[in-house]
Symmetry: D2
Subunit: 143 residues, 4 copies
């Protein structure tokens, strides 16, 4: 992509093949923009099935996006991982149809990674508006 | 249902009409079992679109179920609400196809409700296995 | 005590000897009321050094009490433990001088315990008022 | 201080006068290094009373430091505040005697601020080692 200095094409290929092509992630329409070195960026085009009754993106979708970004960011450093816990703050209504998330590993120990993620919705000209802030503990299975 | 002493049929009807019939909640196949007096129970039959690459229920689905249960539990006491934040612990793989969640308001102030939720998957004979534990702060909009 | 069916005198003795008699715990004046089978109850008489500038018990004291209760509750089942993370909701002002906390292990895996704690301040006649709700992930070191 | 571009001397003076000089904060020996524009940095020299039974800084002290930094960071933007909830990840043993915390407001709405804090212990030559990561929701009272 040129704009992601942390990008590792091989890692991105593995994530696209094994984690994004199936089940919920495929259905949620997650598009991996970049992955590598403990960082990740995902874009999502949200269809009407993912809204709540006020017309905003459902908090569960925002949470799934944040959780996925945190676990994949850890996976770029640690291979097989699983989310232990995360805290999600919902800060503003997530206006469809475009979400973007950036996640970054803050510290990796032998068994756990601390990962932060921020979720944005996009207005005109791709102007970002922060809608959620997340902090996750990701368990490293291969430890 | 008879087995839910907190059940309030009118509240349940409102939730079914306004919150469950549309968008993500309808797609997730949430079935409200009981609601009232700050408590709620929801059952979900999970189809294959909601799994992750190991065949378990996607953590995002578990999170959406917990978040939804917490906000609706608060809604039974406080009307219009929105989730401010929640912490989700993922404690065991969620084996499809059946999930169940119970949520309970622990304290309600003028502006906020503290709500706990526990998510179970169901084995044979409806034996429950705890897969997630959540603690949410729900903002009360009508305050 | 008679009122704590989960009480295990040997466990309580170990906690009093190794964890309560020294450093911060001793200074905070934690008094163990009961411990055993994944449950614990602690009472604290709060002196003026532990208040904040409005005269309530400092949130850091409430957090320390909740964190300590969670880790000790896990220790009754798992031996040597350390807190990985916790979420604390501060729900009401903690009025001095008496706090009480009850913690309970919800699930224990090989490596982690999920523990809940509730902190109360005490009014006249020991009437309890909930001031904080906590959810902790405790790492089991001996796993 | 020269090294803190966000420093606002008047804000720092108010925090020192009203929040740091009394009770628990005074006892914990918090030293405000800089405050302003939603950011804060605090240093703490930890005496032996604040250790746990392994000789590390007690998690409750680390939590109090993180919580205090988050609420004060919000106070630089919003005046009178109170912590609603926070999640604390304890990532490594906090080796005495020096801790340092930096907190930053990520988003402020009318009623709430989302604040992140990182706590470090200091080795020789003030080399920092990350020991805790926190995410807080701070309620704005003057809203």
């Amino acid at each position: 992509m040129g704009t992601y200095p942390y990008s590792e094409p091989e890692t991105e290929g593995l994530l696209r093949e094994f984690a994004m092509a199936k089940g919920f992630n495929a259905w949620l329409n997650f598009e991996l923009l970049a992955a590598g070195q403990g960082q990740i960026e995902i874009r999502q085009e949200v269809n009407d099935d993912l809204l709540q009754h006020h017309g905003f993106v459902h908090g569960g979708v925002v949470g799934a996006l944040a959780d996925t970004a945190c676990s994949w960011a850890a996976a770029t450093l640690a291979g097989d991982v699983v989310t232990s816990s995360y805290t999600l703050q919902l800060l503003a209504p997530a206006i469809p149809p475009y979400l973007r998330v950036r996640a970054c590993v803050i510290k990796k120990t032998r068994s756990t990674a601390s990962v932060e993620a921020k979720v944005y919705c996009l207005g005109e000209n791709e102007a970002e508006r922060l809608v959620a802030n997340a902090l996750a503990s990701i368990a490293i299975l291969s430890s």
